[in-house]
């Protein structure tokens, strides 16, 4: 059970502010989720380059020579940027798949949070404000992002259990609610070769969308079919390389508020999350309908 925030910028001049706006939204949702916090941020593309966000509980040791070791092992240039317990590795897009495997071989304790052209995912246990400070989330810029504060229901309070979940390149998902058929679905998706790293119900939701898109569905279609295939209660906010989507289950009892202006589209579990946004007093504010897919693209 959780608090969700999301922000999709239409006005490019706000891009340097994305991190600070999202952080403010995230911190207001602390009561809904004091156990952990996470954020997915979509930055600027560097042509031909992919980035992997990795995390380690022993960051200093694990990250010190990671980029160099990876570069040597893959025989391609790799640069690294350390941010607290996280690091972002950049390398040629052609090597991103190989890099995933090689990181597991070189540093088995490292967790891969995300990979893609523009996505970076940061998440940690602890109060959202502390997490945001440790990772300097407010200093980040980007085109769109989502954030999540978690009150764990049935899976552990760990970094792996924190949202957002990413099960495909540049994809992420955050969730408020609880799914009731995730165990059976996890077994089925695992057989289909989709990677699922935790026992968390939300990760299965993310993996489901990844699987549908791998089978050729557009994100909107994948969200549409999730309404039939996922059982339980959910409000999802998802991110893709250039898009941002929202869907609620047909019963729709987990809260959701949206706001749109000329400058942005914003999502919050409560209106409180939106109060600091510029022009919120005159924004169009509404509650997303049940079983209805909302989607914005750059």
């Amino acid at each position: 059970m959780c608090g969700i925030v999301g922000l999709f910028l239409k006005d490019a001049s706000l891009q340097p502010e994305l991190g600070s706006m999202l952080t403010q939204m995230l911190v207001t949702m602390t009561d809904r989720g004091p156990d952990s916090a996470g954020i997915a941020i979509y930055g600027t593309e560097v042509p031909g380059q992919a980035r992997l966000t990795v995390q380690s509980d022993n960051a200093q040791h694990d990250f010190e020579t990671l980029a160099a070791d990876l570069s040597r092992a893959l025989d391609t240039p790799v640069t690294g940027r350390v941010n607290g317990s996280h690091a972002v590795l950049s390398l040629s897009r052609d090597y991103s798949g190989a890099a995933r495997d090689m990181i597991r071989a070189l540093r088995p304790d490292i967790r891969i949070m995300s990979d893609g052209d523009v996505i970076e995912i940061y998440k940690e246990t602890g109060l959202p404000e502390d997490v945001a400070t440790r990772l300097s989330l407010a200093q980040m810029g980007g085109t769109h992002g989502v954030g999540h504060t978690r009150m764990a229901t049935e899976s552990a309070v760990t970094t792996e259990g924190a949202h957002p979940f990413s099960t495909g390149a540049d994809q992420c998902l955050v969730h408020n609610g609880s799914l009731s058929n995730h165990n059976a679905l996890r077994r089925r998706l695992t057989r289909e070769g989709i990677r699922i790293g935790s026992m968390n119900d939300t990760e299965v939701g993310a993996a489901y969308l990844t699987w549908r898109m791998r089978e050729g569905a557009m994100l909107g279609e994948a969200l549409e079919s999730s309404l039939a295939d996922l059982d339980g209660f959910f409000t999802f906010v998802v991110g893709t390389k250039d898009g941002f989507g929202v869907v609620r289950d047909p019963i729709a009892c987990k809260p959701a508020v949206m706001a749109e202006t000329e400058q942005y589209v914003a999502f919050g579990s409560e209106y409180r999350a939106l109060v600091s946004l510029p022009g919120i007093d005159t924004a169009r504010v509404w509650e997303p309908e049940p079983a209805t897919v909302y989607f914005w693209n750059h």
Binding site: C253, V285, E287, E289
Partner: protein, 227 residues
Amino acid sequence: MQQYDLETDGLRGLNAALQAQAAEPEHTAWEVLNPRGSHAIAVGLNAPLDVTVRGPAGYYCGGMNQQANVRVQGSAGPGVAENMMSGRVIVEGDASQYAGATGHGGLLVIKGNASSRCGISMKGIDIVVHGNIGHMSAFMAQGGSLVVCGDAGDALGDSIYEARLFVRGSVKSLGTDCVEKEMRPEHLDLLTGLLERAESDAKPEEFRRYGSARKLYNFDVDHADEY
């Protein structure tokens, strides 16, 4: 007019001050500044106060109200005026889920739209929504009237008991055991009064009335699929 800044002075102080007026109101007019979507604003009041909330409120604004007039100059979060007993709550913007849930009495007016489950389990409250309402509204509604000047979403009045529903626009679908009913003169009178008190200029003749078919009141195996 007493002014109270919620941001600087905190929720507990506000509700304590308003609730303290119950015995013998010293100040009847109050203004709440900087609500910024906070929860449980002006709850448990029990005196004929006029409270104006200058901005959007969060969950359960005006909860369990007795006697007071609470006006929200903005939107209201889930459960506005939940379990209201008497008095009046007016939301000038939109209201989220569960508006007026389980209310026993008084009048709730929503000038914008209300989302899902408006009037769920209502037990005597009157609710007038100037805009539209969402799905599962008036679910298990027991008593009182729900007036919708716009459209109603799916499953209106599911498992309804004795509440009266009036909708001017379209109804996406009716819930189990909810049917359209004849609009009789006493209903038009009732509606006229409610619209007037709710500051609406809609015409009573433009509404249709819905209520319980009373088929679920005693178990019958032939209706088992509807449970």
